[in-house]
């Protein structure tokens, strides 16, 4: 038995891969922001590597933001969203699936790109694994938040949803930066990762449910 969840997964992935801009734009944007810093600051290795955690994280946040804001738009306009709400699956699971696909498409490529960024910015090699772990958790959280923003501003301007989301992404930014910075200084960073994990653990059910509420708004 194929569930709607599975079909949704397959369909959205297919559509995303047909429209390659979906995953290429955030990637290129990420790299542009990254390359900008050596250009602006000059190529001093020391300075760059001390700034690297922050730079990588800012670029990652902005890139995932650029991508997430239209996550529900098309489904809303062409009536697919209706079938969410009359399906047997609980809607928040479908929302979760949408977010997950979205993260697969835009978040995952960023992980790859971030390795390149680490190289360019002279990030110490030992901290790369910390960076990847923090990015996995953080970009997923950003996708979740972005989905809530997109749902709240459904059919409205993209930039509005960004404004809704950005203030809430600051804790992620701080945590993510701290993880990499600690790793560089050989300090313990699992604490920060646990906090990020905790945010995700609370965030997944809470934000998915709130997103369902927000989507329902456009149905009244």
């Amino acid at each position: 038995m194929k569930s709607w969840t599975y079909i949704l997964l397959k369909r959205d992935l297919l559509i995303a891969f047909r429209r390659s801009a979906t995953y290429i734009t955030p990637l290129i944007f990420f790299l542009i922001v990254i390359t900008f810093f050596p250009l602006a600051l000059g190529p001093q290795e020391k300075l760059l590597s001390s700034l690297a955690p922050g730079v990588i994280w800012i670029a990652a946040l902005l890139a995932s933001l650029l991508a997430v804001e239209t996550i529900f738009n098309e489904d809303f306009r062409d009536g697919t969203l209706d079938s969410f709400f009359i399906s047997l699956e609980p809607t928040f699971i479908l929302v979760f699936v949408k977010v997950f696909i979205h993260w697969l498409i835009t978040g995952l490529p960023l992980l790859l790109a971030s390795c390149v960024a680490a190289l360019v910015l002279y990030l110490p090699f030992e901290s790369v694994s910390a960076m990847i772990l923090s990015l996995i958790l953080g970009t997923f959280f950003m996708s979740l938040l972005g989905a809530l923003g997109a749902a709240l501003s459904l059919g409205k301007s993209a930039i509005l949803s960004a404004v809704i989301v950005l203030p809430f992404s600051i804790p992620t930014l701080l945590m993510g930066t701290s993880v990499i910075a600690s790793a560089i200084n050989n300090q313990e960073y699992t604490g920060f990762l646990m906090i990020m994990g905790g945010m995700l653990a609370i965030g997944i059910p809470a934000i998915c449910l709130l997103t369902v509420e927000a989507l329902l708004l456009s149905y009244d």
Partner: protein, 239 residues
């Protein structure tokens, strides 16, 4: 106060009381603070800005908590009035936060030597300001008011997480900003001559909030019920 017309009539009496009491309390507090209390031994008279800075900071935060509560009630019980309260409170809260930011900046120039530093409390307050702005922006984009209320309720519930961060920012991170002296659990470390007027000012600010909130709520009700007969009668009586 279940029905809008009833509330409207009842609130016009409340407005008078709120207006009078807030003016009295606030002017008493400011007079005691600015006129009577001694100058600070380090900062001199600049410190008196505290009587606006701190109460408005407290208001900015409590109004957001109030809005989150309204939002919660609005989502769970779909009580229309809570949505209107939320809408009415948002601009007041935002103005108070703007007041904190400006008074803080003004205070910062002589004491810290700069208008702005990127310290935890200041930044978290700025974020609170952004959240207020997002809330108001979101409300303005949804033309159906009831939907807009619910959208904003969701945002207020999520956003309330920033309040403990602001509160605790001075304890968690070492910062330039003054640590908390107001605590519920222990006696304040300020001298009573400074402390008492501050307390009165805080009460005065709460009363001002209640006054403006009632005003805003009345306008909101008139606007939303503008097609109803009682509103036309009210407007007819006034003009």
């Amino acid at each position: 106060m279940g029905s809008p017309p009833l509330f409207y009539r009842w609130s016009s009496k409340a407005l008078v009381w709120l207006g009078v009491s807030s003016i009295i309390t606030l002017s008493l507090g400011l007079f005691m603070g600015i006129g009577l209390s001694p100058a600070d031994y380090k900062q001199g008279d600049v410190y008196r800005i505290i009587y606006i800075h701190v109460p408005s900071a407290i208001m900015g935060e409590s109004i957001f908590i109030f809005m989150a509560l309204c939002g919660f009630i609005n989502i769970i019980w779909r009580a229309k009035i809570s949505g209107m309260l939320l809408k009415a409170a948002a601009p007041i809260g935002m103005s108070f936060v703007l007041l904190v930011l400006t008074t803080g900046s003004i205070w910062g120039k002589p004491t810290w030597g700069t208008w702005w530093v990127w310290d935890a409390r200041l930044t978290s307050t700025l974020i609170l300001f952004f959240i207020y702005a997002a809330l108001i922006g979101l409300h303005s984009t949804i033309e159906d008011k009831i939907k807009a209320d619910r959208a904003v309720s969701i945002l207020a519930i999520v956003g309330v997480a920033i309040i403990p961060v602001i509160k605790k920012s001075v304890d968690w991170w070492q910062t330039l900003h003054q640590p908390s002296t107001f605590k519920l659990t222990s006696a304040p470390s300020m001298s009573p001559e400074m402390y008492q007027p501050l307390l009165i000012c805080v009460i005065g600010f709460y009363l001002v909030f209640a006054f403006i909130l009632t005003l805003n709520l009345r306008n909101e009700i008139l606007e939303r019920e503008s097609s109803k007969k009682w509103v036309k009668e009210v407007i007819g009586n006034q003009s």
